[in-house]
Symmetry: C5
């Protein structure tokens, strides 16, 4: 997983039917040589803008959803505790 | 997923049989340290040149198609709303 | 796999139900042009901070767990012997 | 997928039994910040040295073969038309 | 796949049970902008230090093993012929 900061919401009206109702967040990777990488992750946890999150990428990201046939390769899987410094 | 801009169409006459009829688009990654990365994504959404799109990579990209046995690792899954600024 | 050094623990109280009870470690990639890359890996081996570990990424990381439906893309799979110099 | 140029053939006499009979090509990624990346892709399309090709990576690359149990993570899936400029 | 040079053996006494008996090699990517990337690959081919090898990454690497439930994301799948220049 990667640690990232939630930057903004992303809105897409025209999208795959299987993505309807999902929330997408723009995230920025935190720490190390990947700092500043921008990705878009689906969020089912309820992360807020500015929060630090754990993001899972690749096929494992699909495990956050009830259905396996979903074109998602990045999902927020947790919110990093505020008092966790790194 | 990544945010990208559609740059051009890609034409390939000699290709795998399972890819016949698919539309391929040259895309450029937007934002962050990956900005300027060039990829080719299959498009079933009907994205136009110049539009900003959501692109899903890896095995999850195959979920955009009716058949699972397709050698595709990148697919446009949504079009980012024009009034979505980031 | 990659070689990495365990830097710290990561705490996430609000997370996917399937991740409850798992330990997450902040790791830093060792060696080569990826040195300094920061990732977060699940740990079932019992790696300590400062130890050098073998980390498996992608779908294969899920093979470290009893259940396949887990949103994990990075796991510590071994601890590199102290007298192994590289 | 990525766009790449076929640079050379790669010969490997000692290899996994499941790879016997396959053709491997050295390819160089074209365009963007990944330009100059070198990879080795299996070729079942019959791409010639110097041709521009579409390359599929990851698990999807295995979909180019009759058998699923093949240790291949990169395959040429199409040849880009000569008059396709990008 | 990638072309890499075998640099050294990696020893890990404390590791996942499913990895017992496997040989791990430190490899360095050859050629292009990834030259100098360091990875650790499982070896069932018998590659020697200094040899150039074909390395398969991701889920496809698991296809080198009799069992599918193995946390391996990188495997040596062939040894590049000595007279193969690139």
């Amino acid at each position: 997983m990667i640690a990232a900061k939630v930057i903004d919401s992303i809105w897409s009206t025209r999208k795959a039917d299987s993505l309807i109702g999902l929330k997408f967040m723009l995230i920025e990777v935190l720490g190390g040589i990947d700092a500043g990488r921008i990705m878009i992750a689906a969020d089912t946890i309820g992360a807020g803008i500015g929060e630090r999150v754990l993001v899972c990428n690749g096929s494992s990201a699909r495990k956050m959803f009830d259905r396996e046939d979903i074109p998602i390769d990045s999902a927020i899987v947790g919110i990093i505790d505020e008092d966790c410094t790194f």
